[in-house]
Symmetry: C2
């Protein structure tokens, strides 16, 4: 019997475990997971904190018991792998009872990423949070519930819940205007907190187009989120707990701080075993997601992959890639070598009542850095026929290459439900296929008045871009 050992029990790890065992039931599949939670939807944490999802366990797609009993996977939670011996082909794991040394034939490193704190003082104070794990999610939900019942940190006009007027003037501060920052701004503002969002650069959502950033920021402001742009937080000040956010320009009293300043891949275990990192700082792999060490694979938020448009390594830690690469590795280990394909860096976001998506290389700066001769165009179009009731506006930014006329990327934004995100799917397909702008302009996209104008906004954007190329 061949043994497949997996380090880390979230998306990549459990996808690999499940697929390997299903395709080759004779495999011995062992998963070491440091914590208690496996296979959970971390993307759902902001909605749990917001209160739209009642139980943390709702985020778990398959329980440990189901993995063990129904899928016959030897899942060992509470086991931290502390070293890998690639020559002897063993891993050493620690749990509360001691240490186990486990031989492997195939190994998957799926250690994920850790939420990072910026290198400033005060991030260890009480009341400073990150959102990187289920435990973080539970802590934040408890903070929300406690504050609501005590009436602290609320907006001044939030009514009877706000009992202690002095505390009501202390808002919550979010550091970072990326996905987590914005999703948490929604989660907290919808719970009547006064939310201050600090963004180091001149706009939120840097991976999206400027138009998308502006539309989302404007909507956040309409929802009473106070956005501080070009405002780098230099310290969190306070005695034992966070009391003030300090920037170059101002000191904002806060009762709580959420750090949404990105993640870094957990690579220490791999590095100590001689597994090479790529130029992005995440674990380098080939197209089968195998590392430089034979039979050691890496996938998920600890690993880099290739970008379809640039052909270069990229580090874009997202759930779908983790799932897909984990699954491909499982299939490979079960005897059917399967590539875990490249990415185009697609992401979607809901912000209150707006939705946005981005894919590929967005904007002249990103595309220029990758060696293209970029042209970027933004159009606004109705989301449904002009005469059809309701509907809204879809704003589409396309970036293309002047010399090859190739589509390079897109950023879309609309009211929630008006289809910016699902419309990005066509652009993703076009990017994978290396389509030109005139190819995209010619797509026979579905039309009916309740769904779009005769030329869907994506086609209108391609038509306008076509005139520029």
């Amino acid at each position: 019997m061949s043994t497949f050992v997996i380090v880390g029990g979230d998306a990549a790890g459990m996808s690999a475990a499940s697929k390997a065992k299903r395709d080759d039931p004779s495999l011995d599949v062992i998963v070491f997971e440091k914590g208690e939670w496996v296979s959970y939807g971390a993307c759902g944490l902001p909605y749990y904190i917001k209160g739209e999802i009642q139980s943390l366990s709702d985020l778990v797609s398959v329980t440990p018991e189901e993995f063990r009993e129904e899928r016959d996977i030897d899942l060992r939670t509470g086991h931290e792998v502390v070293s890998i011996d690639p020559d002897g082909r063993t891993v050493t794991a620690e749990n509360e009872d001691g240490e186990v040394v486990q031989p492997y034939a195939h190994l998957l490193i799926a250690t994920g990423a850790a939420a990072t704190a910026p290198p400033i003082e005060g991030t260890d104070l009480e009341g400073v949070y990150t959102l990187g794990s289920m435990t973080d999610g539970r802590d934040l939900r408890e903070f929300v519930n406690r504050s609501r019942s005590e009436g602290t940190f609320m907006q001044p006009d939030s009514g009877p819940a706000c009992e202690f007027l002095e505390d009501c003037t202390a808002p919550v501060g979010i550091v970072g205007g990326g996905y987590i920052g914005i999703e948490m701004a929604e989660a907290l503002a919808e719970n009547d907190f006064e939310v201050h969002l600090f963004q180091r650069s001149e706009r939120v959502l840097k991976p999206f187009s400027e138009a998308t950033s502006e539309i989302v920021a404007e909507h956040l402001r309409e929802r009473d989120v106070l956005i501080h742009l070009e405002s780098e937080v230099e310290a969190v000040a306070g005695d034992s707990r966070a009391e003030v956010l300090v920037t170059a320009d101002e000191e904002v009293p806060v009762g709580m701080v959420l750090l949404g300043t990105g993640v870094r891949p957990r690579t220490a275990l791999a590095e100590e075993a001689g597994v090479e990192l790529g130029k992005t700082g995440a674990i380098a792999t080939d197209e089968y997601r195998e590392t430089n060490r034979s039979q050691i694979y890496a996938a998920g938020d600890c690993a880099e992959t290739e970008h379809v448009v640039t052909g270069e390594p990229a580090y874009v830690p997202l759930a779908l890639t983790a799932n897909r690469h984990g699954r491909a590795i499982g299939q490979t280990v079960a005897g059917d070598p399967t590539e875990g394909g490249p990415i185009v860096g697609t992401a979607a976001l809901k912000a209150f009542e707006m939705e946005a998506a981005r894919t590929g290389l967005v904007g002249d700066e990103a595309a220029g850095e990758a060696g293209f001769e970029p042209v970027t165009e933004t159009i606004e179009a109705r989301s449904r026929a002009g005469y059809y009731p309701e509907g809204g506006t879809v704003t589409v930014t396309l970036t293309a290459d002047q010399s090859s006329k190739r589509l390079l990327g897109a950023s879309l934004v609309s009211e929630y439900g008006e289809g910016a995100v699902h419309r990005s799917h066509a652009v993703v397909a076009a990017l994978y296929e290396g389509a030109t702008i005139s190819d995209v302009e010619g797509y026979d996209l579905a039309y009916a008045p309740p769904f779009n104008t005769t030329w869907d906004p994506v086609l209108t954007a391609a038509k306008v871009m076509s005139g520029r190329l």
Copy 2:
């Protein structure tokens, strides 16, 4: 000055006129339109009849005055072109004042399609309608308004509006379960009519997958539409007005009949001028939409085009193709030869609170007839993350070719707003690019819990199909 003459003032004709004049203002652009309406959104008529759009003129995107004054187009409404002399390069048009003979350098035939009546008795009776024109739309809205105020043809339980109990038992009958039939079923049922829908074959929406047909039919039934399948209407009976719909099996008393039995291209004028039709019965054109007669173009619902997947001529009269081909012809006539590209036969439909789209070759029968070795798979998936509030089900049918592994077509259905239609966009792009199922499976589609599961339903469908190929 060169003269560009256009026969027909709807989507193809006015797109060509506008583009030609914009690109070459020295062109003399003359449009002959038989009726009074130009550039209208016929796709919106069911929503006007339903009462969601207040005025027929709301469906007009550009008014005759705007075409004349702002776009400098010589638009002549009330002018019917009765003959074309391709050798002398003139057209003859009649209006109430007599006849004009107009020379042309370039000619576009954009005569559209006519709603057809089945070859049965009684379709000329009063109370029998088609929906092919703005006039038809006005007549149907008047019927709805009159009936509502008189309380006739209503459902027995529709309350005080139903004054005349005898009349209340006479429902409305729709012949044909295609787009028009189903959109009109919604429009009439939402106005409290008792609606009977007669479909000759064993399911509604034949161009969609069986799964889509079944889901839409079930939803129609939930909304109290009475569907008669395998029920060919053999006659409309009545003295002066429609009173009974007669099929082989039953006689259903009706107070009104709507014929939604398809359209045929208006080709008589072209045929008389020696313009050749294609094997579909619509006007044949090359890739520039030029007919066999030099400088005579044809576009819109009177012309055929090529299908990307089959490479064969196809007749799929839809708004986007008309717009696109008209525009390409305008550009060509203005001196920049531009192809009016092929289609994949995409269509979208709203039916009460469901939405559906289809594209390419759907189902084993259609794909088999086109010479492929078809495999068809249907999957059901959540439209949003399982733990995310609300959401619904997206049902995706894919058809692929066993030997080449190529994607051939798709049919999708979901609750309205849950994204079946916009999700079809990715499939359209894939079809144009000749993508295989494994290409599609690898697309990095946008994911976040408010929009889909980690694997979007389209990816799940590709994954399942992949296992079959």
